[in-house]
């Protein structure tokens, strides 16, 4: 017998980013309807808006930055509201794009092209930071999309791994993704760490160069999740599972239909298809007028268990929030992650019980090469720099 849905009319929020595609495709292809759900998608202008509207119930669920979900669960800065996710949207897809001028300075210091190489780029940036200090030039200014985001946390972790203090040696600000390219072209910032398609927009307009894609820093890096309050999830257990099934189907389709996915994207989000394609097809151009580099795992929607909410991802985010003193150090990571990352619901919805034993062992970030989890092919999970965890 089919589970009875506790609610059928839902409103789900998303941001105009390529990794909102699971929601867009599930909508466009009627995957929500197949599950008996009548979903209205609502595009939002800020992550703050998404959080607030989910908290007051104007949105049933939303595409969320995983660290923001954890921050809200912990009540960083104020009220505590229990939050959870049963589903991750994708792996990778972000990039650190810098001004062309900064890119040439880094090349000059390294004596070669530093693009896509975390070690070379980190060394060169450290030297440049020192050089600028001696010349009494202002510190470099980089933008990310939200304080509690992988964009900010990964950039800060990589900078400090290279001996660059993210609070002293450079300045970090937050800007809406859609404004990044303009700010870069007006030289208000020296670079930005943001999601697709904004890196390709900058490169195609000749405004900047991608120094590092997020997968150049961390193979199989986590990012957005389907977020909701725990109270809402408890009140709608069957809806949660139906959503997971619809999104799983959408993610599977996107992985195999990259070109068509790009054209669906442009139906919902006002960006040129040409800017959506590079990250989606993995033919990614780092620098204007350079040939694309084949990066098949630039944005993974389904393979490698991309949608599984790994507790270890949550633990890494929590550790980063703690090391900057944004979250208290006495938080029990294990129980936090158990509350927020509901892999049990993911498995229940999709019947992944056969993987149970393998999943119990957890995810190690030590895999430098592709590996097998049971009969599931997995990609490397390692950092290409010395992460602080």
């Amino acid at each position: 017998m089919k589970d009875v849905l506790e609610k059928t009319e839902l409103t789900i929020g998303y941001m105009p980013l390529t990794d909102s595609l699971p929601l867009l495709v599930a909508d466009a292809h009627g995957y929500f309807q197949e599950q008996g759900l009548d979903v209205s998608l609502q595009q939002e202008v800020s992550w703050a808006n998404i959080r607030d509207k989910v908290l007051v119930g104007h949105l049933d669920a939303a595409q969320m930055l995983a660290p923001m979900l954890i921050a809200t669960h912990l009540g960083l800065g104020g009220i505590k509201k229990p939050m959870m996710t049963p589903f991750a949207f994708a792996l990778n897809g972000n990039g650190f794009t810098i001004s062309n001028q900064l890119a040439s300075e880094l090349d000059r210091i390294a004596g070669c092209n530093v693009m896509a190489d975390a070690a070379l780029a980190g060394n060169a940036l450290k030297q440049l930071v020192e050089e600028r200090r001696q010349q009494q030039r202002p510190v470099l200014l980089f933008a990310t999309v939200y304080p509690y985001s992988i964009h900010n946390l990964l950039l800060r972790d990589w900078l400090s791994a290279n001996g660059i203090d993210p609070d002293i040696d450079v300045a970090l600000v937050v800007l809406p993704p859609s404004q990044m390219v303009d700010h870069l072209s007006q030289q208000n910032i020296d670079g930005f760490f943001a999601g697709a398609p904004w890196n390709s927009v900058a490169i195609q307009r000749g405004v900047g160069s991608c120094l590092l894609a997020s997968n150049d820093l961390w193979h199989s890096a986590p990012d957005k999740v389907l977020g909701m309050t725990s109270a809402w999830a408890e009140a709608h257990p069957n809806v949660v599972k139906a959503l997971v099934r619809a999104l799983d189907k959408a993610c599977r389709w996107i992985d195999h239909n990259r070109q068509q996915a790009a054209s669906i994207m442009t139906r919902y989000v006002n960006v040129p298809e040409a800017a959506v394609l590079p990250a989606l097809t993995g033919q990614f151009t780092y620098r204007t007028e350079q040939p694309p580099i084949h990066q098949p795992d630039m944005l993974v929607f389904h393979r490698y268990l991309a949608n599984y909410p790994w507790a270890e991802h949550g633990a890494w985010f929590l550790h980063q929030l703690q090391r900057w003193n944004w979250a208290k150090t006495d938080i029990d990571a294990e129980s936090l992650v158990r509350e927020c990352y509901r892999a049990d619901l993911y498995c229940e919805a999709l019947g992944h019980h056969t993987l149970g034993e393998h999943l119990q062992q957890g995810l190690s970030f030590r895999h430098e090469q592709p590996w097998q989890l049971g009969d599931v092919p997995m990609a490397a999970t390692a950092f290409s720099y010395q992460s602080s965890l």
Partner: protein, 207 residues
Amino acid sequence: MTKRDLPESDHPSGPSTRIMLVDDQPARAAILEQALIDAGCEVIARLSSAQGLMKKVVEHQPDVIIIDIESPDRDMLEHMTVLNQHNPKPVIMFSDEDDPATIEKAVRAGVSAYVVDGLNPSRVKSIMAVAVARFREFQALRGELEKTRNQLQDRRLMDEAKAILMKQKNMTEDEAYHAMRKMAMDRGQRLTDVARNIISVMNLLNG
């Protein structure tokens, strides 16, 4: 100790609350500014865009920032609370003692606010109430304007469609009107939809 560090509860008639408004609708901001002044607040800055927002927050040290909820620059403000714990925090996060209904009303009206720690919660609530009331008033006003504009546009569509019928079918204005009404009734459509159809068919034939 600066003025803004003093806990308000100790100073019932003390320093007024310093407010910064960020709104790209100057008319609404002006209405809200007056209402806040009437409520005994000091509006220290009114920005129509977020250009230089961070610098202005540092410069003016507001107790409260009120910003249109649909402004993409809210995330910038959220970042400031991480940079410096004395910076205003989002009210929705701040509202330990607050009832959810206040916040729900604010979100519905399109108001979001950032408030420094230590500000009297009842003060925050009354400021929010003023902002919500003015935002809703403005929404209603804009709704009225929109309605009037739509009515005018409908009127223009009708006139254009009538003119087409009069010319093509040699009808009088009255006959054209009745023909359109009959079409609307037969098809169960609104009159303006019928008018729109007639105009688009005409465009198709001419194009």
